[in-house]
């Protein structure tokens, strides 16, 4: 099973490397990428400084495997890569990287959007919003 989890933030350099690797796949016509970035939300006068992510890793990887299979059945993708942070990711940094590629753009765009929605609603991952005064609250995903 492919591991999607990375300790800490996902760097722009890592994303560039992933893009670069697809140069040799000459049947690809379009890539659709989604990046989730940690927002410095203000909640009751406190500002989110970072999100600390934890996961039920075994279950999340099994679930992600099933999501991948479903997506590949539904869309004609050339490839699909997903990375999610664990541990602390500071405001302004990237915690989710979804990268779908296909011969014609439509499949990559639609698949990428669906994967992001499914990751948010189906993966046992939790984000703890850490405020600038060191207090915290558990994040709630908006629909």
């Amino acid at each position: 099973m492919k591991n999607i989890f990375k300790q800490g933030a996902i760097s722009a350099a890592f994303i560039a490397e992933s893009i670069e690797k697809h140069k040799s796949k000459m049947n690809i016509g379009g890539h659709s990428i989604f990046l989730g970035q940690v927002r410095a939300d203000k909640i009751n006068d406190k500002e989110v400084m970072a999100i600390e992510y934890s996961a039920y890793e075994d279950m999340a990887l099994e679930k992600m495997h099933l999501i991948r299979e479903g997506i590949f059945e539904k869309y004609e993708l050339t490839c699909l890569h997903v990375y999610h942070s664990l541990g602390q990711v500071k405001a302004g940094e990237i915690s989710l990287f979804v990268f779908a590629s296909s011969v014609h753009r439509k499949a990559a765009i639609d698949a990428c959007e669906e994967i992001v929605e499914r990751i948010k609603s189906e993966l046992p991952v939790w984000g703890k919003e850490i405020f600038d005064n060191q207090s915290y609250q558990w994040k709630e995903n908006s629909k």
């Binding site: 992510y53 934890s54 989710l96 990751i119 993966l123 046992p124 991952v125 939790w126 994040k139």
Partner: protein, 77 residues
């Protein structure tokens, strides 16, 4: 046979960091009763239950050696 209990997110805040085992529970309903008795705050927090990584939708028999996970609403991404 004991079942192993794990929890995450806000539920873990209530139950503490340690994994632990519960003995002599026949099914998940009975397990929940035991846990709510031990951690009254659990009754105030939403969660679903996975037995061996499968989310259950009703009372489920526990024949031992399983891992029961208490999963609050997901907030990844």
């Amino acid at each position: 046979m004991p079942v192993k209990i794990i929890s995450f997110g806000p539920v873990k805040d209530i139950m503490g960091d340690q994994q632990f085992e519960v003995k002599d529970v026949a099914d998940t309903d009975q397990l929940i009763q035991v846990l709510h008795h031990q951690y009254p705050a659990l009754a105030q927090t939403p969660y679903i239950i996975a037995v061996d990584k499968d989310i259950i939708s009703g009372n489920t028999l526990l024949n031992g050696d399983q891992v029961v996970a208490l999963l609050p609403p997901y907030s990844g991404g």
